[in-house]
């Protein structure tokens, strides 16, 4: 294992007026190529990358450069929020194909600019699957140009030279030239034609698949040098906190800032306008207090006297809303997928099993609360922030401020956690708006934890109702699933009451079961808060309900839950769900030919985790095992949780086993860290996660009443079992898919240990 002292995010130390490439890669660098058409090597597989806004850009002058000392600089253009993909795994792919010495590789962060770098929206667990092929091509193209330059220098045939570990070697004589010595010549070489590109044989990989590289920010993180959005400090910075309407879509009726202005250090009070729905990521509005330090701003905010007009959500109440969702799944809804005649099959069934599951809103609670700094000078705006979508944020900021995007520079910082929250750049828009009021001084908007918990984009609340009809042989012959959950599309579509295709595609219409009569329906659900995607999104509730229900059926039939699950998955086949869906089909944006729902892989992952976890092993009293399997983000994951519940109802998790089939994988070390983290996040949402509203106001405020799992209650051991796949098996998601199977596996384990079935989250004191 090696770690490197990574140079600081160059964006923050740099001046914006330099050219794009210089501001990223620094001066004095030999840039390798001018033009490199996007190509697919022969063995490339199709992904949905091209359908993303601005697609994928593979021009190597954007991504890789080599200076005369041989230092290779690779540009990270996507957001780094902790899964290691953006700043370590993707650059590692380039370095591997380039056959570079990793200790001589530097990674720098690009600004938000999708025209130059391609899609930067770091959502949907797609960095590796969308970028493995382009990154390999970039590395291989640069390698070829270095080889051509060396051959020319030596006056030998290009097929006599080979690039090897930061040097090009003339094979017959053993002569060598370092990459640094060749960089200038390589830059003058023509870009290789696509058909001449040789991607490495996987047996030659140095880094890909090995897990021998630690994250590039490791040293900086352990020494306090790593800089996040909250850490931006520029000369003359002013600090702002915002008093936002306590009820979504509320407004300021009137305010009095007299006492605020008397707080030492307070400079100014500025009103921020909200937006009518659908407001996308617009600021919520409110009153900003701008001060010379964060503390003064916070004290100034406390001294504000504001009369709020609470608006249309003033009486919103989570208890009443739960009842309305449950009512809506007890009656027919919009049909989303239909096979056979489910209603008739349920009527004629020998037995019908029914269960309902409810899970509440939850908050992302990233360790770093949102923050952004903005400076407006001479009609140009610079923003420093931590966002999952630097390009999208830049363009939207430009649009809302009426600026040409060329006059907006967004410097992307490390993210202290993302989980979907920081895909929404409302905090950056707040800073941009306030920068118009500070006479050219940088202004930093700091969200407190209370702001974060009370003004988030919440994981959706859902009611799920499942009914299974059994024939006289106890085979499941009918499956009806109704789901009602307010949609994230309400941020974008007026008066939206039904789920969008993305939400339906996440573990609902793609239900992989081998049942002749399947009917899936959506109940209406109006949104009264900002609903936003949270790690794994609707997969979490769908998988929890479906995988719990499978275990409930098993129990009623006296069957082993794993066997029941395998029977429902059925024989290995490609699910033809797209043909059966009655609404728009969505498979994580991927072509179905490349990423079909393959029940063979789902079976194998279930069998693998059962074997690795010792399914059926003898356990101490009060312990139980639970299993769940779920495909999401085009990966296949299965989890076995061992739980222990004491006689007071306290639960602990001695062991978790998770098996993942994510196609061809790049960085197994970071896959393990994601799976370990997913277990902790799954346990947090299962045990504690709940945002409730009363009179339109969020009732929780900080880690006292919005608890998350702490050190002592974390799963003691999470074992990760990664399926080995060849490079022809398309890479698939890792960051999110670990979460969905955890909660049902936990709840199934609790049932095995105690006989208590959890149908409402969080678990809270239900076991007491």
């Amino acid at each position: 294992m090696t770690y490197q002292r990574n140079q600081q995010n160059v964006a923050i130390a740099n001046v914006s007026r330099r050219g794009m490439l210089k501001s990223v890669a620094g001066a004095g660098v030999f840039v390798l190529a001018a033009q490199f058409p996007a190509v697919r090597a022969a063995k490339a597989y199709a992904t949905g990358a091209d359908k993303m806004p601005h697609g994928v850009v593979t021009n190597p002058h954007i991504f890789v450069s080599i200076d005369k000392d041989g230092i290779v600089t690779i540009v990270a253009s996507r957001a780094e929020m902790g899964n290691g993909a953006a700043r370590t795994s993707l650059p590692m792919i380039v370095a591997d194909e380039l056959d570079a010495d990793w200790s001589r590789v530097r990674v720098v962060q690009s600004p938000g600019d999708e025209e130059t770098y391609g899609n930067q929206d770091t959502d949907g667990s797609r960095s590796v699957r969308h970028f493995i092929q382009p990154m390999r091509q970039v590395g291989a193209g640069a390698r070829k140009m270095l080889e051509n330059a060396a051959a020319k220098r030596w006056g030998v045939n290009a097929n006599e030279v080979v690039a090897k570990f930061h040097e090009v070697v003339h094979t017959p004589t053993g002569k060598k030239l370092g990459y640094g010595e060749l960089a200038a010549d390589a830059a003058a070489e023509p870009v290789p034609a696509p058909e001449t590109l040789h991607l490495k044989d996987p047996s030659a990989f140095r880094y890909i698949g090995k897990g021998n590289i630690t994250i590039v920010d490791l040293f900086d993180i352990t020494t306090g040098r790593a800089a996040y959005g909250q850490d931006v400090r520029l000369p003359g910075t002013l600090y702002a906190v915002v008093a936002r309407p306590p009820v979504f879509l509320g407004k300021v009726a009137s305010y009095d800032a007299t006492a605020t202005m008397k707080v030492p250090g307070v400079v100014k009070v500025v009103a921020i306008d909200g937006s009518p729905p659908p407001a996308a990521f617009a600021p919520l509005g409110g009153i900003a207090v701008i001060a010379k330090n964060t503390w003064a701003a916070m004290k100034g905010r406390e001294a504000l006297k504001i009369v709020w007009d609470d608006g249309p959500n003033a009486s919103f109440d989570s208890v009443a809303y739960k009842a309305s969702l449950e009512e809506n799944v007890r009656k027919p809804g919009r049909m989303e997928r239909n096979e056979g005649d489910t209603d008739a099959a349920l009527k004629s069934a020998a037995k019908v099993i029914t269960a309902e599951y409810y899970s509440p809103h939850i908050a992302h609670a990233t360790m770093e609360p949102p923050a952004a700094t903005a400076r407006m000078a001479d009609g140009k705006l610079e923003v420093w922030t931590s966002t999952q979508s630097p390009g999208g944020a830049r363009d939207d900021i430009a649009k809302r401020l009426g600026l040409d995007p060329k006059n907006v520079v967004l410097h992307e910082m490390l993210l202290g956690g993302g989980f979907g929250r920081k895909s929404k750049w409302d905090f950056a828009l707040e800073a941009a708006v306030l920068s118009k009021a500070t006479d050219g001084a940088p202004v930093k908007v700091v969200w407190t934890r209370e702001d974060d918990i009370q003004h988030g984009f919440y994981h959706t609340v859902t009611a799920e109702r499942l009914e299974a009809g059994l024939d006289k042989d106890n085979k499941v012959v009918a499956w009806r699933h109704r789901s009602a959950a307010p949609s994230l599309f309400a941020n974008f579509v007026p008066d939206n009451k039904l789920p969008g295709f993305i939400e339906l595609g996440m573990g609902f219409v793609d239900t992989p079961f081998n049942v002749p009569n399947i009917r899936l329906e959506s109940g209406e659900a109006q949104s009264h808060v900002r609903v936003g995607w949270f790690r794994s999104v609707n997969n979490v509730a769908h998988a929890w309900a479906i995988q719990s229900f499978v275990a409930e059926i098993a129990h009623q039939l006296g069957r082993d839950p794993k066997d029941m699950l395998l029977e429902l998955i059925g024989p290995a086949r490609i699910v033809d769900a797209p043909k059966k869906a009655t609404t728009e089909w969505w498979d994580y944006g991927e072509p179905y030919d490349t990423y079909p729902v393959d029940t063979g892989r789902l079976r194998r992952i279930t069998e693998l985790v059962a074997e690795k976890a010792g399914w059926g092993r003898k356990l101490p009293a009060g312990h139980g095992l639970g299993i769940a399997a779920h495909r999401s983000f085009v990966s296949y994951i299965a989890t076995v949780v061992e739980v222990a519940v004491d006689n007071k109802g306290n639960l602990s998790v001695p062991r978790v086993d998770t098996a993942i089939d994510c196609g061809f994988y790049v960085n197994p070390e970071r896959i393990r860290s994601q799976i370990e983290g997913a277990a902790v996040m799954g346990l947090s949402l299962a045990k504690y996660g709940e945002i409730t509203l009363k009179n339109g106001r969020v009732e929780q405020s900080n880690f006292n009443d919005y608890q998350v799992v702490r050190h002592d209650e974390s799963p003691a051991v999470t074992n990760t079992h990664i399926v080995e796949n060849g490079i022809d098996v398309p890479a698939s998601g890792v960051g999110e898919p670990g979460v969905p199977p955890f909660t049902p596996a936990l709840c199934n384990a609790i049932f095995a240990a105690t006989g208590k079935r959890i149908r409402r989250l969080p678990i809270g004191n239900q076991l007491a």
Partner: protein
């Protein structure tokens, strides 16, 4: 007027005496390795050493710091080679990294007083430091690796 020593350097503070140490470190001294996570001593992201004890810098006012000595993550070891930092790297603990300075300061204070802690002592000492990415398993392993007799 408060005289306080931070990472071995004397400083004089004449601002709002109710300002928590956290904001003095971050906004005034630029020591941003000490992180803001909750502001009310619930998450541990802002953990520093006060005369050798791990404390939450968001929960102590500047007026209480006269004559005291504060060490932040930046001052834990001049080269970043404190055994806890080394263990953190060897175990590859961090994901996003935001909480890790606080975790490391907490672990360093624990091991200074209890060089060979039990699992329970590690649990108890680290209880106040939240990691939302869920690195606890590796944090535990790293604390164990940095302890005596490991």
């Amino acid at each position: 007027m408060v005289n306080v020593r931070v990472n071995g350097q004397e400083h004089t503070f004449d601002g709002d005496p109710s300002m928590p140490l956290l904001w003095y470190l971050r906004d005034e001294l630029g020591l941003t390795g000490t992180k803001f996570g909750c502001g009310v001593a619930l998450c541990g992201a802002c953990t520093v050493h006060l005369d050798g004890d791990a404390i939450r810098s968001c929960g102590i006012a500047m007026s209480d710091l006269a004559g005291k000595s504060v060490v932040t993550i930046e001052g834990l070891d001049p080269k970043g080679e404190h055994p806890v930092q080394v263990a953190w790297r060897n175990v590859s603990v961090p994901q996003c990294g935001y909480c890790q300075a606080g975790q490391i300061m907490q672990a360093a204070a624990l091991l200074a007083k209890t060089p060979a802690p039990t699992d329970k002592q590690i649990d108890d000492a680290m209880y106040g430091n939240i990691c939302r990415c869920g690195c606890y398993q590796r944090i535990h392993t790293a604390v164990r690796a940095a302890s005596k007799g490991a």
